[in-house]
Amino acid sequence: MAPEVRGASLVALAEGVAAKKWKSRDLVEAYLDRIARLDKKIGSFLLVDGEGARRAADAIDKKIVAGEAVGQLGGVPIGLKDIYVTRGLETTAGSKILKGFIPPYESTASARLAAAGAIRLGKLNMDEFAMGSSNENSAFGPVHNPWDLERVPGGSSGGSAAAVAASLCAGTLGTDTGGSIRQPASLCGVVGVKPTYGRVSRYGVIAFASSLDHPGPFGRTVEDAAALLEVIAGHDPMDSTSIPQPAGRYRQASKAGLTGLRLGVPKEYFQSGMDPEVEAAVRKALDELGRAGATLVPVSLPHTQYAIATYYLICMAEASSNLARYDGVRYGHRTAEAGSLEELYAKTRGEGFGAEPKRRIVLGTYVLRAGYYEAYYGKALRVRRLIANDFAAAFAQCDVLVTPTSPTPAFKLGERAADPLQMYLADIYTVAPPLAGVPALSQCCGFTKSGLPIGLQTIGPTLGEETVFRLAGAYEARTQWHQRLPEDPS
């Protein structure tokens, strides 16, 4: 018998499959039914692989009957941001230039999920090549925030956040380069984790900015996100920047409590520009954590003001390089007619890329040009080092930092689309952790009067995921925000 999947936790669903309370196939049908009914309004899925999911679920159910092991996530339906390449399943990174691209190989993270028994329901909408904070840059249409369909879900992993919020699958993977997991998690009221750089393999994750790209999970609960991260984390010889250390015990940490933890409150993250409702909710959360037994320590991250400029310089430079391969020669979109090689490139790329990738390619090309490297990219790398040093210094005084995730709750579709700079500035609280490579998590810490979720960000030291999960798990255990669900759209 199928359980009610709306609001269900991934961990509970997996336990139910293992305990034969329900079949994986029942879960798949329940989610496919919800997707069929609701996702027209939300737009989180770019591709639903119903047949593949049913086949995989039946295989799991067979194993259960036969008494075979099915893995930690056995039978649980999940979704992948369409930036994870999937063997035999179209992968577009939200871009027309990859329309029709069927990868011949599988990303490490998605392969690990499959090996743990998770069932892939489909591929999730995103800003084109993960460039954006609203999901409005998808070539295949926007995603609507399940809490208010007129608002954005955040980005770039907007589909991944919205699908969890709307209970269209039990958990998802996204990627975070400057906030692309945490900010949509915040705007959609779910848990999103950007682990330490190198914790999760980037192999098979389409590159936006290589030194900043962090694959990570979304979950309804802290433990759900922890369960997903435990499966996808750990060394991968196919990614030279992967950390040669096994995954930690994140689920356990999420239940360990926060007694004795010193929480750093960086003053630079509580300055002007924040929505008052966001500030109030975050301060209330800090009070709650204090009452729970944590010590609050004021700290400073003095180079915070340079984080956005540094982040955009680096990510644009790397993006201009990473997107060079989309030339219409081997795969993806190719212009219908070209008289010369140069025209083939110009037309293919002109037609295939949307405005935001083009903007970043142009700016990135500009900053890398001969004679300007030192003034821009070189300097950005040095400031990046200072920002990382800020975090190292702060973590000498505290175990974990707590900040808002986004200065505002979800904004309206179209509201900022005409002003890319304003859109970039919305990343103010999320860009520094990826620059430093440190882990960070966003979870819900309240709602605005109009019912929009507000996110709380927890930042840990390098490889300090356990500490982050301890704090987030303890906070969640003392609050009910994560239990609140958006209405199903009618």
Partner: protein, 478 residues
């Protein structure tokens, strides 16, 4: 060119494909050839999401090269992306090295007309090769990515070369060296050794460099020589007319024997180098250097000097060091017959090398006359068991029948007759038959000795030991 008003200044950029099992950043075979696109994978095709993983075997080969030319091998080097668009370049950038190459400095040493030349190196760096565009007669183009990702070392020289001949010899020395090291087959026809040349001229005595042109597509020793000769002449004509040389890249057309401008300095690519974020810095520690250094073979120059010390002529030494297996063969034969280095060299150069199509296969198991067998033959000749002429005959049979010289001599009594009584009888007969010649010889016509020796040889079917014949004849005619 002496007496010439101008001096040529040449620097070469030589690309060496490393003969590793797999590609520099992925698992596909790095072998030459194969069905188009058979040696490919997500990484070398530049598929979305694919990431490079450095092949240690390639770094080790490059380290060995660096040590062999006396470069400083950086303890920490870095890859950088070099951007340009071309269909054979799958990622839109080449993974190369820029500000932190693996090797800096060093020199390539070789001999030009017997004189030792040392060409300083600027650097040696690693990078991945591109694929190949194939243009069909109907105007359709294809791309074969088998070569994409094959490891390359780029060896950049200082502008130390002064003539086309010297440039060709330098290139040959690099080929010899990489083959000695076993890191590349150095085959220009298959593109595992490629070269671009920077050429300028300046008035003799001037220390400032002239404006250079970069020559591309000079992928044979002949092309290197021809293209550089042509470029020097072209620049001389320009300066002679009072015109300027413009900085540009020129493409050599080997069929027409001319070069044409490909792009000017203004049109030069801006490669937008930046550190490859997908690869951490490469650390080559002391232990690695020691290991690589200990594994280096004797290098061509050292071997050349050693062979000269054995009394070999410069010419012979040159032949013996040209390919490592030739010198190895020589050394093994010498070990078996240490008294005869020059003779072994002669036999090796005149008989053995003439019979193999590829000297690089000389040390293969199936060479018909292995070094020890040659040594045995040389000993037999030097002992007088065989004459030089018989020795050659025996060698021919050794090669054809894969037999040892000793067996042939024993089984077929081809050895020289050294039995004094037999030879004496033959000599007696000849002298008695030729009283006139004997009288003239005794009268002082010593040239007639040849006549007597020849007749004794006829008598003995060519098998009499000539030394003994000579001795006995002198006694009889004395």
């Amino acid at each position: 060119m002496s007496g010439d008003k101008y001096e040529a200044v040449i620097g070469l950029e030589v690309h060496v494909q490393l003969a590793t099992h797999t590609k520099i950043f992925s698992i596909s075979s790095a072998a030459f050839g194969g069905e188009p696109n058979a040696h490919t994978d997500p990484v070398c095709l530049g598929l979305p999401g694919a990431l490079p993983v450095l092949n240690r075997e390639a770094v080790d080969a490059a380290v060995r090269l660096g040590l062999a030319v006396g470069s400083h091998v950086r303890p920490r080097c870095r890859f950088a992306r070099k951007h340009y668009f071309y269909p054979d370049l799958p990622k839109g950038f080449q993974i190369s090295q820029y500000d932190e190459p693996l090797c800096e400095g060093g020199a390539v040493t070789f001999r030009l007309d017997g004189e030792v030349r040392q060409i300083r190196l600027t650097r040696i760096h690693m990078e991945d090769d591109a694929g190949k565009n194939i243009h069909d007669a109907s105007g359709v183009s294809f791309v074969d990515y088998n070569r994409a990702g094959v490891p390359l070392c780029e060896i950049v020289s200082e502008p130390d070369l002064r003539s086309a001949d010297e440039a060709a010899e330098y290139l040959r020395a690099i080929r010899t060296l990489v083959r000695y090291l076993g890191i590349s087959d150095g085959n220009m026809e298959e593109g595992s050794l490629r070269c671009d040349a920077n050429v300028s001229i300046r008035p003799r005595g001037e220390s400032k460099l002239g404006t250079k042109a970069e020559l591309k597509n000079i992928n044979s020793f002949k092309n290197v020589r021809d293209a550089i000769e042509h470029e020097i002449a072209r620049q001389k004509v320009l300066l002679g007319r009072g015109e300027r040389v413009v900085q540009e890249t020129r493409l050599w057309d080997p069929d027409r024997g001319i070069s044409a401008s490909m792009r000017s300095k203004e049109e030069a690519h801006d490669y937008r180098y930046f550190p490859e974020p997908d690869l951490p810095p490469v650390v080559v520690d002391e232990a690695w250097l020691l290991r690589a250094g200990a594994a280096l073979p004797e290098l061509p120059e050292a071997r050349h000097a050693r062979f000269l010390g054995l009394g070999l002529s410069a010419q012979d030494a040159q032949v013996l060091v040209a390919e490592r297996p030739i010198g190895d063969y020589f050394d093994q034969a010498l070990a078996a017959a240490p008294a005869h280095p020059k003779k072994i060299a002669n036999w090796l150069i005149n008989e053995v090398l003439g019979r193999v199509d590829d000297a690089r296969k000389l040390m293969d198991q199936d060479v018909p006359v292995p070094p020890a067998a040659l040594a045995e033959l040389v000993e037999l000749v030097e002992k007088g068991t065989l004459s030089g002429k018989l020795g050659k005959e025996v060698f021919g049979r050794m090669w054809q029948q894969r037999r040892r010289a000793g067996d042939i001599v024993a089984a077929e009594s081809v050895s020289l007759v050294s039995d004094t009584s037999v030879i004496e009888a033959a000599c007696q007969r000849v002298v008695e038959r030729s009283p006139d010649e004997a009288a003239r010889f005794r009268g002082g016509n010593v040239k007639l000795m040849g006549f007597f020796v020849g007749n004794v040889m006829k008598e003995t079917g060519g098998k009499a030991n000539p030394k003994i014949v000579d001795e006995i004849l002198r006694k009889l005619l004395g």
